[in-house]
């Protein structure tokens, strides 16, 4: 399978040279086939944090693949090149990993 971690060589270079800083964005990613499904899946975050859905959308990526791609692109345009995604831990967790892998493979 094609390597998604295209940044690995750069990370290795950073280790060698000690260049700083590394900017990493740790983001909740709730991506489903449709935005409505994603919003439904985001309910648990609302229960955990007390934030409304609109508020959650400010600090998490909630939506379909197109929405997620657009949001990630915005981060990249802002200079972020390292991402850590938290995705909901459900019975279909591995399927979610596959979906996210397909998404980030586009970058």
């Amino acid at each position: 399978m094609e390597e998604i971690s295209r940044g690995r060589p750069e990370l290795s270079r950073l280790i060698k040279t000690g260049d700083r800083p590394i900017v990493v964005a740790h983001i909740y990613l709730i991506m489903e086939d449709s935005t409505i499904e994603a919003e439904r899946s985001a309910v648990f975050l609302s229960e955990q944090t007390g934030d409304t859905l609109n508020k959650i959308k400010e600090w998490a990526i909630v939506g379909d693949a197109e929405t997620a791609k657009e949001r990630i692109s915005n981060y990249i345009d802002a200079g972020v090149h390292y991402f850590v995604f938290s995705i909901p831990y459900t019975k279909s967790y591995e399927a979610s990993l596959d979906r996210v892998a397909r998404l980030v493979g586009q970058f």
Binding site: G7, R8, L11, H81, F83, V84, V104, F107
Partner: protein, 170 residues
């Protein structure tokens, strides 16, 4: 422009068998993600507890081959910095230099109180911890005198050949 690198924060819940965590980490590696990460909460919360992150990463280091292994984030000030330097040096070796040490100051007062660490001074404690860890990672005799820690001519047992990546401004 540099290419983006993507990692996955693993659900390292102790209510699940650790084999599941290993399975997810290997799956991430197979899918080509560059890194997997685990959180740090010493105490069990409302939704249960999680595996101790450095122990978990030590185990994952022996069950994966390529993926970088990170903490997101480790509350450094809850741990002795000399011991932390030695443990992370060891993981850097067992992982063949794949450790990323993400460090945070912490936000759970109860955890600090439970471990007898000052919540109010956690920022300064973290700063001193990082200075000591970085000094000890060099593998030479190291001394440090701060407000909270004093280290005299110490050389840890397992200094990393190459320092882990440390992310101290998470």
């Amino acid at each position: 422009m540099a290419r983006a690198m993507f990692g996955i924060h693993l659900p390292s819940r102790s209510t699940a068998d650790f084999g599941a965590v290993v399975s997810y980490a290997k799956r991430c590696e197979d899918l080509g993600f560059g890194s997997v990460w685990v959180a740090d909460h010493v105490l069990s919360g409302e939704s249960g507890g999680i595996y101790e992150p450095l122990t978990a990463l030590a185990a994952l280091s022996c069950r994966t081959e390529k993926v970088y292994l990170g903490t997101s984030v480790l509350i450094a000030s809850l741990r002795n910095p000399v011991l932390l330097a030695d443990i992370t040096g060891t993981i850097q070796e067992t992982s063949e230099e794949r450790l990323i040490l993400g460090v945070g100051a912490g936000r759970d007062r109860h955890e600090f109180e439970s471990l007898g660490v000052s919540f109010e001074e956690r920022g300064a404690l973290t700063d001193e911890c990082l200075e000591i860890i970085r000094g000890l990672w060099k593998g030479e005799a190291f001394s440090f005198k701060g407000e909270h820690f004093i280290v005299k001519n110490v050389k840890i047992g397992a200094p990393p050949k190459r320092s882990p990546i440390d992310l101290d401004r998470w």
